[in-house]
Amino acid sequence: MRPVYMVSGGVSKFEKARPDATFQKMVKESFDYAMNDVPRLKHSMIDGSVASYFSDHFSRQLMAGIMAVDYLGLCPKPNKRIEGGGATGGLCFQAGWEAIASGRMNVCVAFGFETMSHVPTWKGNEFIALASDVNFDYPVGGFYSGYYAMMVNRHMHEFGTTVEQLAMVSVKNHMNAYGNPYAQKRRKLTIADVRNSAMVAYPLTLLDICVMSDGAATCILADEETAFKLTDHPVKITGVGTGTDMMRMSDRPHGEVLLAPNEKKSDYRNLKYPGVHSFRAGRSAGLQAYKMAGVTDPLKQIDFVELHDAYTSSEIQTYEDLALCKYGDGGKFVEAGYPFMPQIDYGMKLPKKGTIPVNPSGGLIACGHPVGATGLMQAVFAFWQIQGSIKKHYGDSELQLKKANRGLIHSHAGTGTYVTVSIMERGW
């Protein structure tokens, strides 16, 4: 395998609805943005593309990927569609990485989109729930927020995690998004606001849950030689990992913890793992990526994380899967302030503020979750963070981290069915 770099990225603004554009135009916006950021990249140098979108139901159009490819003028070059539920974007990013690492392509465009506004929210919830087992899960009450609510109730029971700790994640991510012009929901909230919003699936409220969106994102990846011809600040992809687990959360086994390099067996003497309170696929993906990138102590060696916070609860569960803290300590981890941005005032007292900022962009909760675009959006925001180009792209430097040499992106499907982790580092 040869080294792979990200040389450019672009996102269309994520919105509840884009009545002015179809998916092709949104993809084109993000693609043009990425192309304009690397003027030395000529259209003719692109060898092929990978397309990412989740649901045929949302668009009532099969083979939508190719309709974006021809809109971008990339026919007759290779393309394929990647699909893996909520992790579609993360899988697409890794498929682009594979195309370059294998030597098949020197420049690959990974793009993704979703148009979710064309059906009402309750219909959208039904389409999404069809990505759970339709024999056993869907007919009982098909609703992903319900599945995650059950998972967090068990997490709270096992570990004493509180709803206020969940709410802190929502406050953090909405506040971060306040400075991100691409985010859908830019709001200054308090813990009370989150708890007082409508109950969706006990104990998760409307503000604990991400929203449906329209949007698109594009990442341009290249081999080492091409990358340094195109930009002076390429970002190297140093680790990739993908984990899987059984589709039905009721089947999650209770076994031994997959240990991170910084953990001992004795840390988890009495833990029934992963059960429904943790994601084995997330742990597996993280450990693969850490091994490839040479990360042995993630809390010290990673500067920031963009993770799949479809729910405030899944952000807390993911801190643990990624070994940023021990299993069970996710609630205390956010309460102590570790995943906050050091430079932002959240209106809360945080003793360890900003050790490892999580979702500096605002995450899915505040940016929105146009499924096929989400994992790629994280890559774009992480890329800008590492390049130090947040000011250029956001128009303001408030969200630029001082130290952002190594970032982690994390994409997640089902109730932990597919999870991807990719590690990106300063390449120059």
């Binding site: 929210t121 899960d137 109730n153």
Partner: protein
């Protein structure tokens, strides 16, 4: 979970319902200068989408036949000694073929939630409780509805529950549901 968690109950709407019906369009005027067309928004028309599926339970069929006989069936791997509450014909550990076994009709709440919102098909049933039920001697859980308690605060992890069956089987997993047994 000693602390009482504040919740919001469904209340009368303060907003008009979001409808997917728009204005019927009879003609679409064009500007004299065609350059202005680049700024035109897409024309949107309503498009119904309806499919009748023949839903097959495949290798899971005995589970549904069991429910119509008031039995909950799971499967077990003779090699791994592992038992699934939600049945499967192949073992998730070794890939070998599993055998059908009858599960107990009492268990405990492993975890739960109350859904105040949902996919379109289930909206009319909200609020409803979902539970994952754990059984003695079984390694995995069963997703089911819990009937009886009015509020989520009335449900407790570890609470004993017992199975009830619909009188007229619909050949759906909701042919079995649970009620508190204490």
């Amino acid at each position: 979970m000693a602390k009482k968690i504040p919740t919001k109950r469904p209340a009368a709407s303060s907003k008009f319902e979001e409808l997917m019906t728009g204005t019927t369009v009879f003609n679409v005027p064009l500007p004299a200068d065609l350059k202005a067309l680049k700024g035109m928004s897409p024309i949107v028309i309503k498009q119904p989408y309806n499919i009748e599926y023949l839903h097959s339970y495949g290798q899971d069929s005995p589970f549904f036949a069991g429910l119509s006989n008031k039995k909950i069936l799971g499967t077990t791997c003779p090699k791994c000694d592992y038992t699934w509450a939600t049945p499967r014909l192949a073992c998730t550990q070794c890939g070998g073929e599993t055998d059908w076994v009858e599960l107990p009709q009492t268990g405990r709440v492993h975890t739960f939630t109350t859904c105040y919102f949902g996919g379109e098909e289930f909206l009319k049933e909200t609020p409803f409780h979902l539970v994952l039920v754990e059984f003695d001697g079984v390694d995995t859980l069963l997703l089911s509805r819990l009937l009886g308690p009015e509020q989520p605060e009335d449900i407790r992890i570890g609470m004993k529950v017992k199975a009830k069956f619909r009188r007229n089987s619909q050949l759906k997993p909701t042919d079995v549901y649970f009620v508190p047994a204490e």
